[in-house]
C-alpha cells in the first residue's frame, strides 16, 4: 500500500522544456490516468516516476520516501510497457520470476507467486512458452503478471493497450480495472486514448504541453472542463466551440450574427462585450425549429447505429457537429442550443468562466 507525490517536477531536454512543474498526489490504492496528446510529456512524467529519466528539478516521493535520486531497482515499482518488453529468451515463467530471482527469493516461494499470478491472469497453461509463441493479448497478460508477482508499491502503465486490436483492448481495459481494484495497488496509467482514461481512472490528469490542464475525476472533467483544451480533448465527437461576447448584464452570450443565448446558471464575471468562447457538446444540440434555432447546412452524415453524427455549417459559415439519437437524413438540420449544457470560456485564456 502506498502513496505517490510529485512535487514541482520539471524536465528539460537541452533547451526544450517538456514538463513545467507537475504537482500530483496519488492516494493509496488509487488509479490515476495521465492523458494527453502525443508530445505532451505524459510518458516522460511516467519515466521520471519509474526512475528511467531524471527530473531536471523537483521531487518524486513514494510512500513518504524521496526516491528522486534512486535507481529504478530501489523504488519498489513495476511497469507495464507499451510493447510489453518481455525477455524474448526466457519462458513465461522465467519472465515473471526474473525480478523475484534477483531479489534472492526462495525457489518454492517464487513458484508459488508465479502460479498464483498466472492463475489470476488465466495464463497458467502458457508458463513454459516463449514470448514469441504468444498472441498479443497473452503477452500483455504476461507483462501484467511480471508486474503483479513483484507485489510492488506502485504500478506504472505506459500505454499498455495501444498495441492490441480494438476488441481485445476493451476486454483488457476491463480486466486491468478489475485487477487493480482487487489488488488495491496504487497505479499510474498513461494513455492518449480518452475512452481508456475515462473508463479506467479514479482521477484523470489531462496534460497539455507539459502542464496539467486539469486534475479531477472523469465525470467532473467531462461536465466541468477547466479550459478549452480539456473540453476539446475529452468527449467524442469533440465539443463545438463558438465565438461570442458577453451581453445583457453578462447574463447572455451574443453570437456574431446577433442571436442572444441566455445563460441558464447566471451571469458571468467580466464587462459587457468581453469576447468569450461558448462550448457545446454535439449531443447537447437538439434538433428542432423555433426561436433561436440555427439552420445547419448538412455536409456529412456519419451513422453509428444507435446514433448519427451530423457535420454541418451555420449560415455564418461555422463548422458545427451534432449527435442525434437514431437515424437522420436530409440536407438541412435546424438545431437548438440547450442553455443548461452550455460551457463558457474566456476567449483569451481559454479558462472556464463560472457564474460569479
Amino acid at each position: 500500500m502506498a502513496t505517490l507525490s510529485l512535487r514541482d517536477v520539471k524536465k528539460s531536454f537541452n533547451a526544450t522544456q517538456v514538463l513545467h512543474g507537475i504537482d500530483l498526489e496519488v492516494n493509496d490504492g488509487e488509479l490515476v490516468v495521465i492523458v494527453g496528446a502525443s508530445g505532451c510529456g505524459k510518458s516522460t512524467l511516467l519515466r521520471i516516476v519509474a526512475g528511467l529519466e531524471t527530473p531536471t528539478s523537483g521531487q518524486v516521493v513514494i510512500n513518504g520516501r524521496d526516491v528522486t535520486g534512486l535507481e529504478p531497482a530501489d523504488r519498489d515499482i513495476a511497469m507495464v510497457f507499451q510493447n510489453y518488453a518481455l525477455y524474448p529468451h526466457m519462458t513465461v515463467f522465467g519472465n515473471m520470476a526474473y525480478g523475484l530471482k534477483i531479489r534472492g527469493m526462495a525457489r518454492d516461494e517464487i513458484a508459488r507467486r508465479v502460479q498464483a499470478a498466472a492463475e489470476i491472469l488465466g495464463i497458467g497453461p502458457l508458463l513454459d512458452r516463449k514470448p514469441k509463441q504468444l498472441s498479443g493479448g497473452q503477452r500483455q497478460r504476461v507483462a501484467m503478471g511480471r508486474a503483479i508477482v513483484r507485489e510492488p508499491a506502485l504500478f506504472l502503465f505506459d500505454e499498455p493497450l495501444s498495441n492490441l486490436d480494438a476488441k481485445l483492448r476493451v476486454q483488457m481495459r476491463a480486466e486491468i480495472r478489475r485487477l487493480q481494484r482487487r489488488l488495491g495497488v496504487t497505479s499510474l496509467f498513461v494513455t492518449h486514448d480518452q475512452v481508456e482514461a475515462m473508463t479506467l481512472g479514479d482521477r484523470l490528469v489531462v496534460m497539455n504541453a507539459g502542464r496539467p490542464a486539469q486534475v479531477a475525476p472523469p465525470m467532473e472533467i467531462f461536465s466541468r472542463p477547466a479550459d478549452t483544451y480539456v473540453a476539446g480533448f475529452i468527449g467524442s465527437p469533440a465539443m463545438n466551440f463558438i465565438p461570442a461576447s458577453l451581453d445583457q448584464g453578462n447574463g447572455s452570450a451574443r453570437l456574431p450574427d446577433g442571436t442572444l443565448i441566455p445563460f441558464a446558471d447566471g451571469p458571468r464575471p467580466g464587462t459587457a462585450g468581453t469576447p468569450i468562447t461558448l462550448g457545446l457538446r454535439p449531443e447537447h444540440l437538439e434538433p428542432g425549429d423555433g426561436p433561436g434555432s440555427i439552420p445547419l447546412a448538412v455536409e456529412l452524415i456519419e451513422p453509428l447505429g444507435s446514433e448519427t453524427v451530423v457535420h454541418g455549417r451555420t449560415p455564418a459559415g461555422m463548422a458545427v457537429t451534432a449527435r442525434l439519437n437514431g437515424a437522420f437524413s436530409g440536407e438541412r438540420l435546424p438545431v437548438r442550443i440547450a442553455p443548461a449544457h452550455l460551457h463558457v470560456f474566456d476567449a483569451d485564456t481559454g479558462r472556464r468562466l463560472d457564474p460569479a
Binding site: L52, A73, M79, F81, A85, L86, H89, Y98, I102, R103
Partner: protein, 293 residues
C-alpha cells in the same frame, strides 16, 4: 512467401547463372579438384616424374609429429584469437552503445584496422614489439621481462595472436554493435525496474540476446584465424622460432612452396578443405535451428 519466376526456354536462365558458375568453377572446383588429384600423387622436387601413391600422403601427414604440432598450434592460435577478438570487440561495442556523443567518430576509428593490409599491420606490430627498437619490446625488457619473440616460442605466439586479433576486432565490433542496437531499450528498462543492476542486466539479458551474433562471429573468427592469417604469420615470425608458430595453413605453404613436396602439401590442403566444409556446414545447420530464442 515464395515467388516463382518462370522463364520461357532454358537458355536465358542458364546464361544468367553462367558467370557465377564460371567463377566458382575456375576459382574453386578446378583448384580443389587439382589439389585432391595432387594429394594422391608423389612428385619429385623438379616436377619431372609422378607416381600414384593412393592415400599414402595422408598417412604421412597424419603421422608426422610436425603436422600434429602445427595442428595444436592452430587450435591454440585460433582459440586465443577468437577469444581475444570477440572479448575486446564486445567490450568496445558495449561502450559505443552507451555514449551517444561522438559515437560515429569512435565507430569509424574502430573500423579502420579492418582495412589495413596484413603485412602493414604486421610491420606496425613489429615496431611495437621488436625487442631492440620496438616501443613495447624495449619497455618490457627494461621492466625485466626477457621479451624476444624471435627466440621464445610463447612470445612469438602471443605476438601473432595479438596482431591477428587486432585486425578482427573491427569486424566483430560492427556486428556486436548492430546486435546491441537491435535489443529494444524497453527490455533493458524492464530489467532495470525488475531490479537488475548493470552487470546482471548484461549477463542475463544482453549476452543471451546477443548469442546468435556471438555464435556467427565465433565461426567467422575461427575460420579467419585458421585460414586467413598466413600474411600476418609470414611477416612476423615466418612460423618460427623453430616451428612454434607454424599453423596448418602455414605448413601447407612451407611444405608446398619451400620444400616443393606438392603431394604432401596437397594432402594437407585437402584436410583443411574438409575442415572448412565441416565448419561451414555446422554453422548453416546451427543457424537454421537458431541457437537462442
Amino acid at each position: 512467401m515464395q515467388r516463382k519466376v518462370i522463364f520461357r526456354g532454358r537458355i536465358l536462365p542458364i546464361a544468367l547463372l553462367l558467370p557465377q558458375l564460371a567463377i566458382t568453377f575456375v576459382f574453386f572446383f578446378w583448384p580443389a579438384g587439382r589439389a585432391i588429384y595432387q594429394s594422391l600423387l608423389r612428385e619429385d622436387a623438379f616436377g619431372l616424374s609422378q607416381e600414384f601413391v593412393g592415400l599414402e600422403n595422408f598417412q604421412d601427414v597424419l603421422s608426422d609429429p610436425n603436422w600434429v604440432n602445427a595442428a595444436l598450434n592452430s587450435v591454440v592460435f585460433s582459440g586465443c584469437v577468437a577469444g581475444l577478438a570477440l572479448g575486446i570487440a564486445l567490450f568496445l561495442a558495449v561502450q559505443a552503445d552507451k555514449s551517444l556523443r561522438g559515437v560515429t567518430v569512435y565507430r569509424s576509428l574502430l573500423i579502420w584496422p579492418y582495412a589495413v593490409a596484413p603485412a602493414v599491420s604486421a610491420v606496425l606490430w613489429l615496431f611495437l614489439f621488436q625487442p631492440q627498437v620496438g616501443l613495447i619490446g624495449r619497455w618490457l625488457n627494461a621492466a625485466g621481462v626477457a621479451w624476444d619473440y624471435r627466440l621464445n616460442g610463447t612470445h612469438a605466439m602471443i605476438l601473432i595472436v595479438i596482431a591477428a586479433a587486432w585486425k578482427q576486432v573491427a569486424y566483430n565490433f560492427i556486428f556486436f554493435l548492430a546486435g546491441l542496437q537491435s535489443i529494444p531499450a524497453s527490455v533493458l528498462e524492464a530489467a532495470a525496474i525488475d531490479g537488475a543492476r548493470p552487470a546482471r542486466r548484461f549477463w542475463s539479458i544482453i549476452f543471451p540476446l546477443l548469442s546468435p551474433t556471438t555464435f556467427f562471429l565465433l565461426i567467422v573468427n575461427l575460420t579467419y584465424a585458421f585460414f586467413e592469417t598466413f600474411g600476418i604469420i609470414h611477416a612476423l615470425t615466418s612460423g618460427g622460432p623453430g616451428q612454434a608458430t607454424e599453423t596448418l595453413i602455414y605448413k601447407v605453404y612451407v611444405d608446398g612452396v619451400q620444400n616443393l613436396n606438392l603431394g604432401l602439401s596437397s594432402a594437407q590442403s585437402v584436410i583443411l578443405m574438409v575442415l572448412v566444409i565441416a565448419l561451414t556446414a555446422f554453422q548453416f545447420r546451427a543457424v537454421e535451428k537458431k541457437v537462442h530464442y
